[in-house]
Amino acid sequence: MHNEFNAPDGQGDARRIRAHEEESQVRADREVPLVRKGLTDDVHAWLDGELPETTVRHSGAHEAVDFWNRIGAEMSARREVKTPTHVAAQIMAALPATTPHLITPWYRREMVVTPGKAVAIGTAIAAAAAAVTAAIVAG
């Protein structure tokens, strides 16, 4: 490569210029920082309301403070946005006519076992067990 630049045929200069242009382009690409500097902890603390603006400005983060003040003004404007007036009436008109009531799934419902029910359940279980046993013995 180096030898090509020093070629005695006079083409060395042209090659050198072309190589320089290519190199410049590569260098220009490399000018984009690979690791971008993020916001400092002070700026985050200020935005979280933990530090006063003056302290952050003293730490040298003027640009970030100005930038976030600008964003903050836009955010404050958004905080004033109201629901369009027709929406509440629209929602009321769209509500179901029936009164809402609690629908409890069967497995969450309270189960009351009276002595009578307990005897009936016990008898049913015993009968089922006897039937299964008889079927097994017969088979």
Binding site: H44, K82, P100
Partner: protein, 193 residues
């Protein structure tokens, strides 16, 4: 009378609000359907703002708000604790579902609906440009970061309140807000910093 006033002063506004909401819910469940409009009027603005900032579309925000209040009405008997937190979660889930399922066609919201506190046309123009750039930048954020940023910086909620509403930790939310800020700074700094 004096005692009542003293009790009112001592009582926490949050507790008052909770009790007032529960009283309204009881009346609605007894068949006074029209009382539900009090709850709508009381909470619609912050919920609409949340939906608007999350979706970027006033029409979609209205739809999500309407669907959420209808769902809240249908399941009103299941409310335990704060109604506003419960209905907020319905709206937030509605926004997330919409973001998952639908590709947005437009991002900026209606200029005419927005208040203007700027004196000169130049300031207004700058502000309109910033607003649409900010909309685009917010739309580029992942939903979880956008949600955290909007709750912190538009709705002005504390990290504790956000953690309560979203069922996550303060640390995780701080991280999301910080990452959202970093991302917005990167997206907007070339033009505005």
């Amino acid at each position: 009378m004096k005692t009542t006033t003293a009790q009112q002063v001592e009582a926490s506004p949050a507790v008052d609000q909770l009790e007032a909401d529960q009283a309204i819910i009881s009346r609605v469940l007894q068949g006074h359907r029209e009382e539900f409009s009090t709850l709508i009027q009381r909470y619609q603005d912050p919920l609409y703002r949340h939906a608007l900032c999350m979706t970027g579309s006033p029409d979609v925000a209205e739809d999500i708000l309407q669907m959420s209040f209808i769902k809240a009405y249908q399941h009103l008997a299941e409310v335990r604790g704060r109604f506003d937190a419960w209905v907020f979660r319905i709206v937030a889930n509605g926004c997330k579902d919409w973001l998952k399922n639908i590709r947005r066609t437009h991002l900026s919201y209606d200029e005419d609906d927005q208040p203007s506190g700027y004196a000169t046309p130049d300031e207004e123009l700058d502000r309109t440009e910033l607003r649409s750039d900010l909309d685009r930048a917010l739309a580029a954020l992942p939903p979880s970061l956008r949600e955290a940023f909007v709750m912190k910086h538009v709705e002005g909620r504390s990290y504790e309140e956000m953690a309560d509403l979203l069922g996550t930790t303060v640390g995780a939310l701080k991280m999301r807000v910080h990452r959202a800020r970093e991302a917005l700074q990167v997206l907007l700094e070339e033009k505005y910093a």
